[in-house]
């Protein structure tokens, strides 16, 4: 294959690429110097607070913010949704104030008077028969002849009900912004966002719709550090627009409007639920023959999303599936890390695990036998990953048929799951600047969610220029830099690595052209290695990086790197396999994680440390939604009962007693695919793997996540080992 000028270097010549590099933003974060949006304190800053609706469904009859405006210390107050507006969820924003401090703003909000006409609501959807006309068809599909396949007298059939509730994002930093007007026609926002380059045009459009004239080019958004996003922070959101309006009303003073924790949990992020009855069939030798599912879920007032089932094994010859979307008053859905996949994964892999148990087959063997039904480009990957996961989890030693028969109340079990994701780099760009003193800067309007964007940029630029990683100055998180796409869907590392590479190769070629005459060769005979520009293969004819850059004289090199662009630097479509090893206490119903094994492919790795960290983080988030997380809604009052972190529980360090074993698939067969994103994949499988492990331990399926003690004990009461 002909080489392309931007191609990744061959193995052995990649310098820092693929090795473990400490994140370059580490010192700022461990010393408290990193400023998150919540930490931005601007001169003369006011604090914004909102009045939210206490009803799940209501119409506003009257509203009066004037008492708030008269309160000492209040500088602005406004109505967000006026008389006649129909409110679709509790916690929706009704009015707002800005005051000199947070406590005064809270006092003032309490003075706002609103009257509502309360309307009927629906906030629980898990019983489809009670959902009435809120339930709407959302797709039906038939492949082959499922009726015939299920009627085959030789077929082994398993039927089950499975469910995964609505959960929230629960970012440790809540949503919000600090917004200020810089004169009559210019705005600066500090925003907790996954979408630095996208915020100005969102805010501009929203304000112009309210007849507040400002053009996008006069809006600057900054986000240097963010305390979590997970798919919930792509938008300026209504509260960001409100902060801009409050600031304008207060003469341009900065307004900090961060959501309180309860507001954040109630309105700023929900992953759609997914419930369903599944029937699967296989021939006696374990070959899958048919899938049938009738599923439903809610994404709040909007559509629920349609999880892709059967997951992974899409080439099952006979398929019937039907999905129903239930409109509820629980608050709007937001993309949650790997949208639709964890739901589809649980529905499919739990059903298949139950079928394997009915066939009296080893679950790992069952997946190997049927993996040819996966998309062809992933079959080989899955075969290798299943073997690796079996090896690392000591599957043959610890796996047993359903129900741990050892005496006592502690039952151990193993479960396996697999997943896929796209992960192609999004469209974006950067500046690469090489100055005559040898300093190198890469600038982009991208963001680092903690995933390591800064470090990836530095590693790629350093490896291209033959410099140490700390020689690269990375400037991101400001919309004045070149546009980059939002960080969602595992698209950032593919984009950032590619635009940095293209911009850096072009910059290096300009430097070669400037240096070539003094080394007496053509520019294309030069290479950058070990901090020097040298004649290829001849280090004795060389200049140090600094001396080479000095040849630029008064000129500074400035190139723009873009993605997409020439040469294939990235790809799409990864596979991963995970195994969970759990112990269930059959007296208390408590599930303990002993080990989680994650085997993951993501093409060419740029920084092994940040890549592995993504997998560790995905596993923990997976444990959280498998064991603890649920947005608990009360049908009587229509509100979330656990809108705080005491009862919206996340896994603490004591909940993960066991070891997390992460193995990245790298080397020949993987690296040449180029860079593929990794944020979503590792969070997809834990639900199914842990649910399957619990079934393996106690001999009965706990049909719904999270696997709380109550649900485990209820399942045991219906059967199981004991």
């Amino acid at each position: 294959m002909a080489s392309c000028k931007y191609d990744w270097p061959a193995a052995g010549q990649r310098d820092a690429i693929g090795k473990s590099t400490d994140r370059i933003d580490g010192p700022a974060k461990v010393s408290g110097r990193a400023k998150y949006t919540y930490d931005i304190n601007r001169p003369g800053m006011l604090f914004g607070k909102m009045l939210t609706c206490p009803h799940a469904h209501a119409k506003i009859k009257s509203i009066d913010v004037s008492p708030a405006l008269k309160h000492p210390g209040v500088k602005a107050a406004l109505v967000i949704q006026d008389v006649g507006s129909e409110i679709q969820w509790a916690g929706d924003e009704i009015a707002a104030v800005a005051a000199v401090d947070e406590a005064t703003a809270e006092d003032a909000v309490r003075l706002i008077r609103v009257e509502y006409d309360v309307l009927p609501h629906l906030v629980r959807e898990e019983n489809l028969s009670k959902d009435g006309d809120r339930a709407k068809p959302a797709g039906e599909q038939k492949v082959g002849d499922p009726d015939k396949a299920f009627a085959d007298p030789e077929a082994v059939i398993s039927e089950g009900f499975y469910g995964i509730p609505v959960i929230t994002h629960c970012c440790l930093e809540t949503h919000g912004n600090v917004v200020e007007w810089r004169g009559a026609d210019s705005i600066l926002t500090h925003s907790s966002t996954q979408n630095v380059s996208g915020i100005p045009s969102q805010l501009g459009a929203a304000l112009r719709a309210k007849k507040i004239n400002v053009q996008d080019s006069n809006i600057e958004t900054i986000c240097q550090y963010i305390g979590g996003g997970f798919g919930s922070k792509f938008s300026i959101d209504r509260w960001g627009v409100v902060a801009a309006e409050l600031s304008k009303q207060a003469g341009g003073k900065p307004v900090k409007l961060m959501l309180d924790r309860d507001e954040d949990l109630e309105v700023a992020g929900a992953r759609p639920s997914y419930f369903g009855h599944v029937k699967v069939a296989a021939s006696k030798d374990g070959t899958l023959t048919a899938w049938s599912s009738e599923t439903w879920g809610t994404g709040g007032p909007g559509p629920s999303g349609v999880p892709p089932v059967p997951y992974i094994l899409t080439n099952i010859p006979n398929i019937y599936k039907k999905h129903t979307s239930v409109s509820t008053n629980i608050g709007p859905a937001r993309a949650w890390r790997a949208p639709n996949h964890p739901q589809a994964c649980l529905m499919t892999l739990a059903a298949l695990d139950d079928l394997a148990a009915k066939l009296a087959m080893d679950a790992m063997e069952f997946l190997q036998k049927n993996i040819h039904l996966a998309p062809s480009y992933l079959v080989n990957t899955y075969q290798q990953e299943l073997s690796k996961a079996a090896e690392l989890s000591e599957w043959s030693k610890y796996w047993h048929p359903r129900g741990d028969k050892t005496p006592g109340h502690l039952k151990r079990g193993l479960g396996v799951s697999l997943h896929t994701w796209g992960g192609r780099g999004h469209a974006g760009s950067c500046n690469v600047i090489v100055r005559p003193d040898g300093s190198v800067t890469v600038q982009s309007g991208t963001q680092d969610l903690g995933t390591g964007t800064r470090t990836v940029i530095a590693v790629v630029a350093a490896s291209t220029f033959g410099l140490p990683v700390d020689a690269i100055q990375v400037e991101i998180g400001d919309s004045r830099y070149p546009f980059d796409g939002a960080s969602g869907g595992s698209t950032t590392v593919g984009a950032a690595s590619a635009w940095t590479r293209r911009g850096s190769v072009d910059a290096l070629n300009e430097l070669f052209a400037a240096v070539a005459p003094s080394l007496g060769v053509q520019a294309n005979q030069l290479e950058a290695r070990d901090g020097r520009i040298q004649v290829q293969g001849n280090p004795s004819k060389s200049l140090s990086w600094k001396d080479a850059c000095a040849k630029l004289g008064a000129k500074t090199i400035h190139t723009v790197g873009k993605n997409p662009g020439p040469c294939n630097l990235g790809s799409v479509g990864v596979g991963g396999v995970q195994v969970a090893d759990v112990t269930v206490d059959t007296e208390t119903g408590k599930v303990k994680i002993n080990r989680l094994v994650a085997v993951q492919d993501c093409g060419l790795i740029i920084d092994k440390l940040t890549a592995e960290s993504q997998v560790y983080g995905g596993l923990i988030m997976g444990v959280c939604y498998s064991l603890f997380e649920e947005k608990v809604m009360d049908q009587t009052i229509g509100r979330m009962l656990n809108a705080n972190m005491e009862f919206y529980k996340l896994a603490g360090i004591g909940d993960i007693g066991g070891e997390l074993i992460v193995h990245m698939m790298t080397g020949p067969g993987y690296d040449e695919r180029g860079v593929i994103g990794l944020g979503e994949p590792p969070v997809i499988s834990p639900g199914a793997a842990i649910s399957n492990a619990v079934a393996n331990a106690i001999g009965v399926r706990v049909s719904q996540l999270p696997l709380t003690p109550r649900r485990v004990l209820a399942a045991l009461a219906k059967g199981g080992i004991a």
Binding site: G32, N41, A103, L172, G228, L449, E646
Partner: protein, 160 residues
């Protein structure tokens, strides 16, 4: 009410409202925003600081309760020349962070542990950090970071 608090070695006097929380006092009056706000209700530990050497969740302490005390925040942990404390270095070296929002609280909770127990086992580290939540890193590297720091602190003590 008038209060006098020594923060990171510097004494401040302020007239504060009785309802002002220590976390807001530190962030808004003293300008020390490395102490983060997460859950607001003493669950997540992002706002952990040292009060007379003991780790406290500053969202549950009133500023007036801190009158007369010595407070150490994450900004006060580094040395005079800005060199990182072994715990800060450990969290960086061992990759005990991603977004970093929980990190200052984690480090200060771990600081209390090491001041009481220079040789903590992995189980003791987990026990000591039970009041601090992390949403994105996974805890494995955090345990390693504290182990790394414990060893470094012991080595420094032997040299001294």
């Amino acid at each position: 009410m008038k209060i006098r608090v020594k923060i990171n070695g510097v004494t401040r006097e302020d007239d504060v409202e009785p309802r002002l929380l220590l976390v807001h006092y530190l962030r808004e009056l003293a300008g020390l925003t490395g102490t983060h706000i997460g859950c607001e209700t003493s669950i997540c530990g992002a706002c952990t600081v040292l009060m007379n050497g003991a780790a406290v969740k500053s969202c549950t302490v009133l500023a007036v309760q801190a009158d007369g005390s010595e407070i150490t925040t994450i900004e006060g942990l580094s040395g005079r020349n800005g060199q990182l404390h072994p715990l800060q270095q450990g969290f960086w070296e061992e990759h005990g962070l991603q977004c970093g929002y929980c990190t200052p609280g984690m480090i200060l909770a771990a600081h209390q542990l090491l001041s009481r127990n220079p040789h903590p086992s992995r189980a003791e580290i987990r026990k000591a950090l039970e009041g601090n939540l992390c949403r994105c890193t996974g805890y494995q590297h955090i345990v390693k970071a504290v182990e790394w720091a414990a060893e470094k602190v012991r080595a420094q003590a032997e040299h001294a």
